[in-house]
């Protein structure tokens, strides 16, 4: 059984999880995430390596994704924040680096007001989406990636 390296990549305004509008985004921060993931079957450190990156900059997110391609990362968990809805450039990057990617959102973006938030430019280049469960969304995404890589 292979060891998989996954990059958990967070976009703008996601550097302060737990502090930002907790009524929408929840009270937990990323420090809870690793615990959540490790608690799942088949995800102990000998099997899954997790990398974390956050940036408010569209350009740096693309830089990091291109670097992930050179590092041969096995899977991406991407919460592009507001760039989900506006960044054709990040979408173009996903299209060419060809790393399996799961789109995640803390809140259920399709349930929020505002037509702009109902369009994901990322979706066309992702395996699937998990949205609405706070940081559990990331853990479910990791499970989906493992399942995808093993089948």
């Amino acid at each position: 059984m292979d060891i998989y390296t996954f990059l958990i990549l967070n976009g703008p305004n996601l550097g302060h999880l737990g502090q930002r509008q907790p009524e929408i985004y929840g009270h937990q921060d990323l420090s809870h995430l690793e615990g959540l993931i490790r608690g799942l079957p088949g995800t102990d450190p000998g099997k899954i390596e997790l990398l974390f990156y956050q940036s408010n900059s569209e350009g740096k997110i693309i830089d990091r994704l291109e670097q992930a391609r050179e590092e041969a990362v096995h899977g991406l968990v991407l919460n592009a924040g507001a760039y989900t809805h506006t960044s054709l450039a990040i979408a173009d990057c996903l299209a060419w680096i060809q790393i399996p990617c799961v789109e995640v959102h803390l809140s259920n973006v399709w349930a929020r007001d505002g037509k702009l938030r109902h369009q994901s430019l990322m979706a066309g280049h992702c395996l699937g989406v998990v949205a609405g469960f706070g940081i559990l969304s990331y853990a479910l995404a990791v499970q989906a990636l493992i399942h995808h890589l093993r089948s």
Copy 2:
């Protein structure tokens, strides 16, 4: 720790999973689902009871949802198929029965062509969405429901 009853509700054209366009929807049918779910931590039969229902009829889906309210079902995993995008009536039903619900899709509907499939009338009345992972989507949804009910 309580025993939870969940209703896994499938809409139109979802009665023949595994046979229908497997290049989009996968080769597995619902018989694999219970195994997938039971393999997760904390989901053995003594703790989670699963009900299954499938109908091609919008009206019967609403009937079944209203019955779930009377049965005091704890959570819903809803794949409304094409009705996801057209049935204001099912959405209205979710609004009033007030049972925690996770929207699931076998394929990543937001990645498919056709603007109509990018709009979910269900989303506004669901905790979240899991889409794109074949029947694994249902298992992840069950996990999200358990997590929601326990927190």
Copy 3:
């Protein structure tokens, strides 16, 4: 003076009036309706016969309307619920059975959010509309039908 038979027809999610979101739809159920109507001048049982039907199914509503045509019902009071906004098929049925019909709604649908609820596919085939007064809407509709048939 003739005896008129009226069919009061309710669509999806209208089988539990009084229980469903009472802050929007009110606390009264249909059992109050007959009293409300009978209290109006010229509506005692010897003059007005009332039939009631409710279904969550678009197809059964059409079946019932076609049956009403064969029963020579004199007037319709139709609350098509969410189908008001989505069912071209029910609208087509009203167009051909040619029974005088009044569209009713419990809430003032044109005052609610969401553009979809501001479009009635029924309207083009109805004498008029009464919306926003809870079950009193049905009673006013009956009055309008009597007035229409007598003039």
Copy 4:
């Protein structure tokens, strides 16, 4: 039981009821209206006082509505004519004077051609709507107001 004062307010082109396009708007004029209303239970002059106003001017309609607020009128029956669809200013006025209001129309505006007539700027500030029954619409609106004030 209180005495209620209601203002019946008609907008542009409604000063010649009975003469204007009777195939759409009917042959009866406002002189028939008081009779129709008085024929209803609980609406005799000792209990209900009716005020009438008509103007072709958007500004004067707002003036009259603001005056109604100072007179402590109990309810409004408003047929804003074409301004129903174009006057954000009258809608703003209804929003702040806070008098219970029923929107009425002689014809079933939602059944007429032309998308513009299917949008009511008034609706968001009214209890409900009665449309399509000629001047009977006004009488039904008065009933709805009485019912609203008594409950």
Copy 5:
């Protein structure tokens, strides 16, 4: 041969012809118009009576049109100014007073920028339109009315 009475009706911002943006609307005022018309064959005072009215108020324009119906005016030359594009109420008035009407504009409104100015709510209730020729537009409209009434 009959004597015809025509009402030349000008809407908002048309009270200062010749002074207002002459690069768009020309340097001539209405005093030139009567001369222009009288210079045409068959339009001497014994045969054509001209009435003039201008108002900035939508309501007063409707009042004047309703008065024209009572005066049995034979034809209308209507430059509704900006209300051409926004006043459903004036359009409704033209629909019911049933006086032959020609729509005129000083400038060629269909050649100007801005989609709003390309839609005339008046057009559906007018014989035709003359636009773009300064006050000559009115004279040509009078000719068209005479031609229409004589044939």
Copy 6:
């Protein structure tokens, strides 16, 4: 030469052909259809078997289509009525049962008013369309199916 089985499937409001708005849909009912088809070359009962089904219910139409797949029906003649324009669920069903299908309409739907009727959700999953010739449309569709299966 094989024997072909064809399912003639009619949707909502098509159970009363000949009675429903004959000025639009014609005076003939389905009893005339079999005669029309049998009069064509190569369509005698030894060669072509015809099955008929009608339902007002979207769900039952899908049930019947799924059954047709199990019966190995060779071709479909589908008049989905109003569901043509609104039922993504029936369209999804056609996509997966993979039976050659011809879309038919009694009237020329593309010639009727109303943008909604100009969009067919069925078309993307049909060989072709025949519309506007009353019940002859069905007979022409049968000819097209035979031609398709033989070539």
Copy 7:
């Protein structure tokens, strides 16, 4: 029984049937069409006269249609190619020459990508439409014309 003259009129890019994109338009050319038609009952040369015309020019198609009116052609089978979707001028011509016309297409245009191809400016002036069956579409259209003229 009368002899009917029909004009089979093809628009732009239809002069090379069989050579043009055969995966969309089929391998048969118009030489097969006469045989297909003559094989149908009641279409032998003594009863049906066929005229053929093809042009890439919108203007020449209108010229030919106006000439057909002077020749008293009994019916039209029109495949206007791309002009189906863009030529208001050909549509205007059909409106005034008043010859029964059937719209045909080789491919199922409503099933193809691109919203522009889903709008037919011709439809409003045609009896019906046959699309998607290659040159068989023309033969079915001839049958529909005969049926129309005989009834």
Copy 8:
């Protein structure tokens, strides 16, 4: 006083004036037009020379307009028929040949149904428009041209 040469240019379906849908376009043909114009003051043959051209072809209309530029025609009266609404190419031609042009229509195109007919691509390159008065529209346009050239 100069002699002016005017080109009266008619587009598609305008070659049979008086025969085509007379309820919309009137019963008079172009032979009446010269009489109408000559009856106006200052338009006798020594002063105004009239050229007539009609074509169903967009390309030939552009050819004729380019020829008019070489002939130094003083003014254009253009009824582009349906091309009014669809031909960017004719509009581009008007833009560069720089001959004063009046747009005319027999019917009041802005009063007809259909949004497409409410947009004139010609308008941006014309002095003005005269529409709705049958062939009198052309005569009024000639007057407007003379007035424009003399001032």
Copy 9:
């Protein structure tokens, strides 16, 4: 240093500032405004003369603006209320009277729901806009006018 005369012009529903929906529009009325303005540097009565006008009528607002042109008012502070979004006629008036104008709003109209309120027909004819600060908005606008006139 010149004395400037400014007209503070308020549109519909702005005659009762401080009473109307104070949670949106604030508790202060216009009597506070003069104090606010006089407290700013360079705005004492010897230097700045303030005129106030309010009307609910679109026509009277235009009348007042035309009068301001004749009075040679130096600057306008315009809160056109709901007419901001619907009155092309007031916008046309600003275009021709050519008096420097600042658009003001009590609330931040661009932050409110409803697309209609996000479009200002006034903006194209104003120096700038100040919105969202209650009656302070007017004072800031006066400062901007002084600054504009002095530079």
Copy 10:
């Protein structure tokens, strides 16, 4: 009386004020701004501290805003330049850092061509807006912030 710290934040292309298209944006640069502000009552250095920041990068603007939250800045004056109309990410940041913010623009963006510039994604998270007065806009915004914090 408290000392307030305000951050004046400028977005893309605003680093060269005074040099960039001065016919639109004015000739003054930010060095004039501090003087303008200090000249207002109650804004001397002992009372108001001003911080300045400019970046062409969307990500760095968000970084700076998040830093302002940690520095407990009292108010923001934000000219987001073109990001005003496209950056959902900056808008999301304003939503969570919860610092009172005034949106400013040098030019009157609502008066400029181009629908894109008429939509502000910032507005929903700002107290108000000041636009069109060059760098005076910033000074007026500071006044509004002081007024807001003191009341």
Copy 11:
């Protein structure tokens, strides 16, 4: 090295290059083009044969393109003028004749006003586009064709 034959095809209003609106389209005519092309490396007459065609007629352009297919022309340089934006028929022709084509424009059409000019129906069937450099655009297109054919 092969000899290539290229067809330089110009659409409506392109027969008078150098005379037509030179401020947009430049002062040079096609006689300069051959010189420009011959000055490029590898384009002397022994290697590249140039054919020129211009027509104002959409139909004739299609005729010429179909002839090019029979002549086995190696490449097309197409400036379809206004037909670029409106002619689905020319686009359909490019789709089936399958000759490598470069779209050219004298002006930068994407920089001009008017949404209609920003849509090219040709683009989907061309290798690429060169726009904005006057007749140099054609020469660059020839270079691109040579490069395409040699690689």
Copy 12:
């Protein structure tokens, strides 16, 4: 003859030319570009100096453009990648730095699916566009710049 300095500026995802989706973007990288350019007449190093810059960051692209203005670069060849379609900020920068710019694309963006890619925010500020020829597009753009500067 002057020496010209040109900046070749590449936006997001253009740092790995030749590796990224070669079926769309080609196999050549920028190292081939200088050779291609130097092979053209009049482009040897003594005459043309080439600067190269690539960034994934919108902000850094603007920084580089502003620097180019200070370096007095003579021309720009800009491939803004996905920012072509979304970055109003880069477009604003081009507007003010006023350096002649040619827009280039490797693929023919107007031929690709997706409406978003058919809109270039850059176009309004560029001399012209070259798209669809891989890195040859850049070389053609350099030629166009030289031609522009020399004429």
